[in-house]
Symmetry: C2
Subunit: 528 residues, 2 copies
């Protein structure tokens, strides 16, 4: 991508749009094109008219399946959705009081949260740049509220640093930035950058480093009110007689480097995890519920697909009807959108191409553990002034995320008490739910001793034990080599879901994958 | 402050607290003491019992005055509050449809916003570390919602850079960090840090810089998916056939340095402006209204104080009763809490000490302009995907802040269209309200051309023209020399307000000042 070549063309295009359509249209075009773009979503899909009487069967009523159902129905297709579970939403899932969940192996958890409390075992936050999710929320009337991703007052914690005590994010972040700004300023003064940076830019660089790193006039990072104004004070500014602030001492660079706590400083910088973020008011499955209200009449629940076969005339799907003692039934359609996770699909009989079959059989699903812990009071707010955000730790729980709803309420609150995957999840993977909860409690109490006194109830979802997906999200053996084989329309069947996207494990990936899949299905259906 | 000396004492103290009072108490103590403390507020004040029949007159029913009224009344004092305006709250003030506001000079503005929309001319956000404000909100039932201070998708704008086009915060922030991390990594490799950083730490520094700056394996900041994953892509990751991302080109360091846009990178790092922040649902004056519900029966409105005199027996306050044709009246009390801004107090007859009088006469009040602009649609969200947060600019409007309420709603929205002070406000200071609004529109349209088509109505408050304060906040001639003279109890009178704090212009400063003032007043009243 040669930036110099691309940009003039863009500007010319934008001027043209501006001349024809006015400033607002030009801005919409700019926002869509971006200079550095944040999303490929280009607004509501417009499929055009379906060929008369064309039937599409959709497998799976998760977000990918329901988006396909909505849009294909609106284009005039005759749509039927088969869903294994008794409800729609898939991994867009929320547990509330009264819910019961049985994992693989038979362990059953009864959720017993306080009124209004909930836990999202799957997706739990929506980045501002996931325009597809946001647009469906807007169109379906799902109310969104801010999700606090970045909290300067949350902790960074390592069992191997600071005697195992948590340190506020603001302290590590401010001090790391201060020290590296100071080092760079020093070597700039010493001439080390002379061959890389012009004289004029060096002066600007020094000025900018003072601002960026809270350095003093001599470009030093030292105890000062400007540093403490970011990291915290010995005595913070107040009112009256003792109002004047007293700064405190920064942590030295070596201690910070050796603590490894710098590893999470950039956690809030990625497009997918930077402010602002959002969550549906009341739980993530408000999105699933809204979609289900829209297409629920097209969904047939508790149908376990056992075979998918296609020929030149159409697609046949055979399933066990779990509402009818498992009786076998077969339905046919002209086309099929299959959103069944490959972990499940690999166990289903089908006659897909060998290329596609290879991908289905080689994709593995990441194991991941989440634990929701409810406490009698919101001690993280009341005692520690942590309102939302995430504490990162090297403990196997990996993080603690504080709720972004019901701030300041005097009522029980639910923490994400563990979100572990890969190596950090090994300590949890083999355990039954109540022991996973106990382990999350035991680890978390190293950061919040209040855990021991305030614990009320917990719930844990180990994704590799979720019967209808067997893992958290699809992982590729060789994505670069396999991806196009997997997304390509296989005669009359097209795959969709988060696993067929470059936003794996995100709802946005499922939606964008589904939109692209049905666009191609529609092209085939209309143009042959 | 010798950190090595102080810390062991603290730890010993905390262990002691833990042993006696358990983990929760230990954590409360830790939160209060902090290692790097964020607030001096130590929880609700406990004054104890007032001497029988002691009367206190409070001048001004802003936040400082109402806090004093609440707490002194609760301690048993007989409290009376005199307020110049027809309502309480002072600078904690919200304008809504139907409101009318006359500024000095006689210009009247009629506010005509859509239902539910509002504009806060004064305080507009509450830092998470303003524990005093948060505690009163909690005690008085003021519902708070997140205020989005940091928005990576908002703009940085300079008339002198990028052809005057705004650039997303995430682009400047990511690229600046990337470039300085790369420079520091290079000189580290070249040995320039050998005398400052140990070998072991140098290896850690390089690893940390890769993470901090999104550098590649060779410690270079280049076009990559890791950099674009923060700054934005040429083609962002999506789903289906074109799902794979294509990174774009960073902006070079020289361009960024010369653009001066780095100047606002650290805007979200200060304790007072870092995430999370909050706002009352419905407007900032929800705080004033809640306090007024609590102490409204003690407030006498539309009383213009003309003289304050004290002797060994008490305090006399003379006022014009604006509800009664300006008739003069005098009330007496044992003590007085005076929260009248010094800009006004300097025009009132009094017999305070010469030291205090000197401060009153020498304090000047900052001029500052705010403009609220209502637009027919929330184009910043719909066209530009900016949800809350602040765009910084070198234009005289200084910033545009996007509302943190009613996200994604299809209705008119109100922007803070200008917040100017000091040199940036000179273009606004002499103008009548409608011309200030017009100027804010004209400037803002350089960033958002949609201004021209979507403008609905506007309102502007120039603080130097607000009759009851004549400025935005108190500024000291020589704070270090004068502060203790001003906060000291002057026989039977004590001053309180934001101007008597080290959090000037913040509600927290007013509250902390008031709490400290009444504690000392109570000490004098009880111990003589």
């Amino acid at each position: 991508m040669d930036n110099e070549e691309v940009q003039p063309t863009r500007r010319e295009f934008l001027s043209m749009v501006g001349a024809v359509g006015g400033a607002a249209l030009m801005y919409q075009a700019m926002a869509m094109m971006g200079i550095a773009k944040a999303s490929p979503y280009a607004g509501p899909i417009e499929l055009g008219q379906a060929p008369e009487g064309t039937r599409v069967i959709i497998l799976g009523a998760g977000l990918a399946g329901m988006v396909a159902a909505m849009e294909l129905r609106d284009a005039g297709y005759a749509v039927e959705v088969l869903e294994y579970r008794e409800k729609a939403g898939g991994r867009c899932w929320t547990l509330r009081s009264g819910d019961s969940y049985e994992e693989l192996g038979g362990a059953v958890q009864q959720v017993d949260f306080a009124e209004g409390n909930y836990f999202n075992p799957g997706p739990w936050r929506i980045p501002y740049n996931h325009f597809g999710v946001l647009d469906y929320c807007s169109r379906l009337g799902v109310e969104l509220e801010p999700f606090i991703q970045v909290n300067n007052n949350a902790y960074l914690h390592s069992t191997k640093a600071f005697d195992g005590k948590p340190v506020r994010f603001r302290e590590i972040n401010t001090d790391y930035r201060g020290h590296i700004a100071e080092l760079l300023a020093k070597v700039t003064d010493q001439g080390a950058l002379d061959e890389m940076v012009s004289e004029e830019d060096k002066a600007l660089l020094l000025t900018s480093l003072r601002s960026f790193g809270a350095l003093d006039e001599q470009n030093a990072y030292v105890s000062s009110t400007s540093a403490s104004g970011r990291r915290g004070y010995e005595r913070p500014p107040g009112g009256g007689v003792d109002g004047s602030p007293i700064p405190n001492e920064p942590i030295d660079l070596s201690t910070i480097l050796q603590s490894n706590l710098w590893r999470n400083i950039a956690a809030g910088e990625s497009l997918n995890t930077s402010m602002p973020m959002f969550q549906p008011r009341g739980g993530m499955d408000m999105i699933a519920q809204a979609m289900e209200r829209n297409v629920g009449d097209l969904i047939r629940y508790r149908k376990k697909v056992t075979a998918i076969t296609q020929d030149e005339n159409g697609v046949s799907v055979t399933f066990e009807d779990l509402e009818n003692g498992g009786a076998s039934e077969t339905v046919t359609a002209d086309y099929c959108v299959c959103t069944i996770p490959f972990s499940i699909l690999s166990q289903i009989e089908h006659n897909f191409s060998s290329q596609l079959s290879n991908v289905i059989n080689s994709m593995y699903y990441a194991s991941s553990i989440k634990v929701g812990l409810e406490f009698n009071r919101r001690f993280w707010e009341e005692d520690e002034h942590i309102y939302g955000g995430i504490t990162y730790t090297d403990l196997p729980i990996s993080m603690i995320s504080y709720p972004s709803n019901d701030f300041f309420q005097k009522k029980p609150g639910v923490l994400l008490g563990a979100y572990s995957w890969g190596a950090t999840s090994y300590q949890f993977n083999a355990l039954p739910p109540e022991e996973r909860v106990a382990k999350a409690l035991e680890y978390g109490a190293q950061i919040h001793p209040q855990y021991n006194e305030e614990f009320k109830t917990g719930v844990s979802v180990a994704w590799h034990r979720v019967p209808w997906v067997l893992g958290c999200y699809g992982q590729w053996q060789d994505k670069e080599a396999q991806y196009q084989d997997a997304v390509a329309m296989d005669r009359r069947v097209v795959m969709a879901g988060e696993h067929l996207s470059y936003l794996p494990a995100w709802m946005e990936g499922a939606i964008l994958s589904s939109l692209d899949a049905i666009k191609r299905l529609h092209d085939v259906a209309t143009n042959g």
